[in-house]
Structures are given as C-alpha cells and as structure tokens.
Symmetry: C2
Subunit: 209 residues, 2 copies
DNA sequence: GCAGCAATTATTCAAGTGTATAATTTCAGC
DNA sequence: GCTGAAATTATACACTTGAATAATTGCTGC
C-alpha cells in the first residue's frame, strides 16, 4: 500500500488565505473554468476535501476570492498614499502616476478584475462590493482634486469636484486597462505623461511632470 | 418509441450565426461556465451534435463568438456615425453622448466585454482582435478630435491629437463601464453632461450641451 | 506519553462535460 | 416522385466536475 500522504496542520486563517490565493491564481491563469476544486487544491498544496472543510461550497470560496481581490486592490491604492508628498499638486500627480504604471498596471490583475466585473451585473453581492470599492477610490480622488483646486485658488464646490472625480476616475480606469492589456502600444513613460497632462487640462491646473 | 424530433434545414451562415448568438446569450446570462454545448444547443433550438458539424470544437465556437462580439461593438459605433451632424463640434458631442448613454451603455454588453477582456492576456488571437478594435475606435475618435480642434483654430499636430485620443478613449471607456454597471449612481443625463464637460476641458473647446 | 478532538487525506458517487459515431431526415436536382 | 448527399438528430462514451462520507493523522492539554 502507498502510504498516506503526510501533512501539517495550519491555522484556519492561513488555510483560508492559501485557498483564496490558489483560487485567484487559477482564475488568472485559465479563467473561471480553470478554477476547479482539484486545481485549486493542488495549487494550495492540499487535497480537494479540505476545501469543503473551510468553505461550505466552491461557490463560497470563489465569492470569498473575488471579495478578497477587490479589497486588496483598494488597500494597494491606499497604501501607496503614504509614500506620496504632502503638497496637494505633487500628491495628485503621484497618485495619477501610480495608477497608470506598474505594479498597479499589470495584465494578471486586469484579467482578475475582468473576471470580477463579469459577475457584477448578475450577482448582487458582487455589485455591492464593486460599488463600495468604486466609491471608496473615487472619494479619495475627489478629496485630492478638491485639495489641488483649493491650493491653486480655483473653485472647488461639491458639484464640480464630484463631476471631476467621476471623470478622473474613469480616465484612470481606462488608461489602466489599456496599459495593462496592450503595453506595447505605449512608449516608456508615455502613459504617465498622457495621464498627467490630461488631468492638468481637465482641472485647468499645472501639475508637476 | 418517441418519434425523432422534426427539423428544418437552415443555411450554414444562419446556423453559425444562431449558434454564436446562443453562445453569447449563455455567457451573458451565466458566464463562460454556463456556455455548455447543451445549453448553447437548446438556446439555438438545435441538438448538441450540430455544434460539432459547424465548429470543430467548442473552443472554436467560443472564439468565433468573442470575435463576433468585438466586431459588432465596432460596427455599432460606426453605424451611429451616420446619424451624427456634420459640424465637427456637434459631431464630436454626439459621438461622446452615444458612448455614455443607452443603448451603448448596457449591463449585458459590459458583462460580455468583461468576459472577452479576461481572455486577452492569455490568448494571442484575442489580443490581436482587441488591439485592432481598440485602435479602430481610437483612430476614429482622433480624427474627430483633430477636426474639432481645427475648426476652433487650435493646434492639432499628430502628437497632440494622439495623446488626446488616448485619454479621450480611456475616459469614454471608464464612463461606459460605470454607467453600465452602476446605473443607479448617476442621475438621468448626468453621465452625458459629465462626459461633454470633461471633453470640453480636455480639448479646451466649447462643446454643445 | 497518551487521549481525544479536529484537521486532513482518501475514496466514492452521481451528475454534467465535450466529443465521436451511427442513425435518420430534409431537400435540391433530375 | 426518386435518389443521393448533406444536415440534423440520437446515442454512446470516457472523463471531469463538485460534493459527501469514511478513514487516518497531527497536535494540544493533561
């Protein structure tokens, strides 16, 4: 008889995290259909049965994975804030740069994001997560836009900053997508320049390039 | 014995189109995993075996479906051009409006688009299709931007119009996504106003609202 | 060190998957 | 009307899927 495979006990949190990471890896590499319980288990270094132990159903695991993904994206953009300068104009410029250059720009991240977006229209829970994530990012951008406008002595009422944040957010999203998916279409540093100048014209401000 | 199901012969083109439409319906409703040969066949009103007759493999059918989807999106934006006014500023404004309002804004279309985007990073054929589609749309936008700038007597060299087209395209994409996915976040007509004003500031032009 | 519990693996199962092949039916050309 | 070829259906199959259950193992508290 082949001996039963040896194993080590990990904490619940570690195992759940490992399974979620494995799920995201599978989806990134082969799409949702590649994220089978067996493939996930192998990538997590575990047998399929364990999934059932930590998640009632595979659907639960996939949902947890998508929620984790969105949370991480939000946290990543928040963490980058700490390294930005205090001056509102430089701060906004740094924020924009981060959004349209690696490592935020990344084809794997964009594939995962697309997988999540696909679920949003038909899954209420996913829509709620997306809505919260979207608004959190946009609100942060709106705050920085308001600060930048105030510094420059420009009007910055709520109606104006809201509209500019919606447009600015859309601009960053669109640039992020294309930079991630068609990197060869853009020269080194071109995206950054385009993004900064577009924001400068959008806000009618001089932003440090 | 239950009698064998009666059928009618359709032309090859009609059947292929029906199968492709059925595939897109399945993906839109339940994601790629819902697009099984049986589900597709039922929706197309045929039996699963027929798929094999028109497509060597299911993968071929799915690939054809995605290519058709992208082609249709391009054609839809091209068709709308014919109904636009000739005046460059009004024409650009109309083009922008189309991109951020129904029927172009549509959650089903956005779910399908997300499904395609997910494939792009790991499927060269899909990337080629996406790249061609993206450039076709962007070039069209660049032409309209150049016309609008010329009309207004503003500089419109290639380097400038290229950067503005990349940014404008990203802006429209981002707004289209959010309008499609979170329609409740925006008041009636708000997206249109935001898009027009954002373009006006981006190009430093007065666009008809 | 040992008892017992929970974590983990192994095994099993029914349902669903894509595809290949055989059996029929439609329809165009004569 | 026949006939033959092509379109379509029906059937079969091997494999994968998610889940449920049983068997074992690692570990904590004593």
């Amino acid at each position: 008889m082949t001996p039963r495979r040896t194993f080590k006990r990990e904490g619940e949190e570690a195992r759940r995290a490992a399974l979620i990471d494995a799920t995201l890896d599978c989806i990134a590499e082969g799409g949702p259909q590649a994220a089978t319980v067996r493939a996930i288990a192998i990538k997590a270094g575990v047998t399929p049965g364990l999934i059932k132990h930590y998640f009632d159903t595979k659907e639960d695991l996939v949902a947890a994975a998508h929620e984790t993904l969105m949370t991480r994206m939000t946290e990543a953009s928040a963490a980058a804030l700490d390294d930005l300068p205090a001056d509102p104009l430089a701060r906004l410029a740094g924020f924009i740069t981060n959004a349209v250059t690696p490592p935020v720009v990344d084809s794997r991240a964009m594939a995962l994001w697309a997988a999540s977006m696909q679920l949003v229209p038909r899954d209420t829970a996913m829509r709620d997560v997306h809505e919260a994530t979207y608004l959190a990012f946009r609100d942060r951008l709106e705050g920085m836009i308001a600060d930048a406008l105030r510094t420059a002595g420009k009007p910055h009422d709520r109606a104006t900053t809201r509209a500019l944040a919606i447009a600015g957010n859309a601009l960053l999203d669109g640039l992020w997508i294309e930079a991630s998916v068609l990197p060869d279409q853009f020269a080194q540093g071109e995206m950054r320049t385009i993004a900064i100048r577009a924001f400068a014209r959008l806000l009618d401000l001089k932003l440090p390039e």
